[in-house]
């Protein structure tokens, strides 16, 4: 049971006023893959480094496997880590690099050889074991770093943006491979990234961080579909969630959302917010370009961007730009008006002041 418990972690770097992590509490279950995601400077790497033992929190507590490790040095925590820069040792051969953790722990030679061979096999490094890192490509160095991390069989596997130095195609390939490897290992994993696509595709759960705090923590689909804050919706997803100011109006049939002169059918729970301004959050793929219902609005097409599988349309609605995802076969052109349907169940509503999601009850 290598679970991780982080409780009220606060860390402020000397010389800065704003804390890097501000009262963060997360529990990671045994074998879980948790992704910390957020813009740069949000504290995700600091959090990871505190789990690793490379930073000491000002206050709070970290437990791994039930043991309080808050004040233990990194080497006594039984964690392993993949660094963003890979941090593989240039003066050692690939074999010695992978074996480093085992050598330091004085594992018997035969055992080391066997485990290194296994890890190398898993990461397709068998042919490169006797090379120096300088003779490897970026992708191969990345593999060495991962092999070195998994060979020690640590309780906890930490990864700090391990894919960020690879080119786009390689990143996509290795992402899949990494997920497979980690699934097979079953190690508790904490993974830091600023790439929202990586976060959604890898994590069992995703923790979205901003300014040292965890803004939302949940399974990827939940975080994607139901952002708790405007920030989360705007950060996750490509394109990010659209936000459209509106006012709740009541008429005979129920609540409606007034966008300029036009009206949208509102979810029922908005009845309690009569005449209040709200922010509609809606994903590009949840806007219907061939609406049947009468509750549709008209918008002007600004730009068309075919993406192959679909076409991304930027439209102007009441002075705001929205991104709409339409089927690739959809025909229109810039300057034209199109009808857009918003399904009440597929929109999120936010308080324009606090940027928090409105209570749906």
């Amino acid at each position: 049971m290598a679970d991780i418990v982080m409780r009220n972690l606060v860390k402020t770097y000397p010389g800065t006023r704003a804390p890097a992590t501000d009262d963060v509490s997360i529990e990671v279950a045994d074998g879980e893959f948790l992704v910390l995601v957020g813009p740069s400077g949000c504290g995700k790497t600091t959090l990871l480094r505190m789990i690793a033992g490379l930073e000491t929190p000002d206050s709070g507590e970290i437990r791994i496997r039930g043991r309080d490790v808050t004040d233990l040095p990194a080497r006594q925590r039984n964690v392993s880590m993949v660094f963003q820069s890979y941090a593989i040792f240039p003066h050692l051969r690939v074999r010695q690099n992978i074996a480093f953790g085992l050598t330091v722990h004085k594992v018997p030679k035969a055992d080391i050889d066997q485990r290194v061979a296994q890890a190398a096999d898993l990461l397709n490094l068998t042919d490169y074991l006797d090379r120096y890192p300088a003779q490897l490509s970026g992708g191969q160095r990345q593999r060495v770093a991962v092999a070195r991390a998994i060979v020690v069989n640590a309780d906890v596997l930490l990864m700090d943006e391990p894919l960020s130095n690879l080119d786009a195609l390689l990143r996509l390939q290795f992402r899949t491979e990494l997920k497979k490897i980690v699934q097979e290992l079953g190690a508790t994993t904490v993974y830091v990234t600023h790439d929202q696509a990586e976060a959604l595709s890898l994590g069992d759960r995703v923790a979205v961080m901003r300014a040292g705090r965890v803004v939302q923590l949940g399974p990827p689909i939940e975080v994607y579909d139901k952002p708790a804050e405007q920030f989360v919706g705007g950060f996750l997803g490509s394109p990010p969630m659209n936000f459209l100011p509106a006012v709740v109006r009541m008429d005979g049939e129920g609540a409606q959302l007034a966008v300029g002169e036009q009206r949208l059918t509102a979810p029922d729970f908005l009845a309690g917010y009569a005449d209040q301004p709200v922010l509609i959050g809606v994903r590009a793929e949840n806007i219907d370009v061939t609406p049947e219902a009468a509750g549709a609005v008209t918008a002007k097409v600004v730009v068309l961007e075919p993406t192959g599988a679909a076409v991304l349309i930027t439209v102007q609605l009441d002075g705001h730009e929205l991104k709409v995802q339409a089927p690739a076969s959809f025909q229109t052109e810039p300057g034209k008006d199109i009808r857009l349907g918003f399904h009440p169940d597929r929109m999120r509503l936010y308080d324009p002041q606090s940027a928090l999601a409105l209570a749906t009850a």
């Binding site: 080497r75 941090a87 040792f89 240039p90």
Partner: protein
């Protein structure tokens, strides 16, 4: 570079074929060649400038005494003889001076690495109060002429009983070499990524193991450079050694003291005896300077 080289390939394939109009590719190639030749010439000039005096000294030291008086002076080793060298080495104080120099040089090297490497590491890795002032302060020892330092030092050493000992000279040389040792090694330690140390500790190494297994091997070329510099500094230092000792002279001090009014051949022999060990040391350290594993440093 690759793009330019590729565009030149057709021109290289058919160099004799006459081309209509100007051939920009060939012109560029000629310019590149001319630049390469000029670079080679410059390298040659620097090498000759450095090597010629050494050659002349060696020639004079290894020729018969008569041949030195010939006119014009033969520039090739036609009158080879070890006689001058042999009589120089048999001179009183030369062999002891040589061993003294070696001893002082090596002890200085060990001492300055022992103190300077940790200091360089500290300056490179830790932010502490007064770090900048500390670095500046170290350089100040080099700002004072050795003569100015030596006289008060001689008085001090006389009082504490260190005068005319190799230990005193070693201390002076260590003090002179330390600033550069600290600065060179700190620059090297800065170049070793902190990530590497952190990775080592995450994988179970103690701070000392991380230093020994990961940082030190990567810093070796720089440390070798610092060692080289230290040894040569100590080997070449004359004034301080001459002032601080009477009977236990280092070789330069001995040469300075006794050969001032010796015949010319002896001076050449002394010069060669001084140059050779330093050259030898540079040659030994060379492979560490041209890094062992990294192709980027070459």
């Amino acid at each position: 570079m690759t793009a330019a080289a590729r565009s030149d390939e057709p021109a290289a394939g058919a160099p004799a074929a006459p081309r209509p109009g100007p051939a920009p590719g060939r012109n560029r190639r000629r310019r590149a060649r001319r630049r390469a030749v000029r670079l080679q010439l410059a390298c040659l000039a620097v090498t000759v400038y450095m090597a010629l005096p050494i050659y002349l000294i060696a020639l004079a030291a290894l020729s018969t005494r008569d041949s030195l008086n010939q006119f014009p002076l033969p520039l090739l080793p036609t009158h080879f003889s070890t006689e001058t060298m042999r009589s120089f080495l048999s001179l009183v104080g030369v062999v002891p001076g040589f061993t003294n120099s070696l001893q002082v040089g090596l002890t200085t090297l060990a001492l300055s690495l022992l103190i300077g490497v940790p200091a360089g590491y500290g300056v490179a890795r830790y932010v502490f109060r007064g770090r900048d002032a500390y670095q500046l302060f170290m350089l100040l020892t080099r700002a004072l002429p050795i003569v100015v330092l030596s006289v008060p030092l001689a008085e001090l050493f006389l009082n504490v009983g260190l005068y005319d000992t190799l230990y005193g000279v070693t201390l002076l040389h260590t003090a002179l070499a330390l600033p550069t040792t600290v600065l060179i090694t700190s620059a090297i330690f800065v170049a070793v990524p902190r990530d590497h140390e952190e990775a080592a500790t995450v994988f179970g190494a103690t701070p000392l193991q991380a230093f020994g297994r990961v940082v030190l091997p990567q810093a070796l070329p720089g440390i070798a450079a610092a060692a080289l510099f230290t040894f040569v500094t100590s080997w070449n230092e004359v004034l301080g050694a001459a002032i601080l000792t009477l009977n236990r002279r280092t070789l330069p001090a001995q040469v300075l003291a006794t050969l001032g009014d010796s015949p010319l051949p002896y001076r050449f022999a002394g010069g060669l005896a001084l140059v050779l060990p330093a050259l030898l040391f540079v040659a030994l350290m060379r492979k560490y300077l041209l890094s062992m594993w990294s192709s980027t440093l070459r």
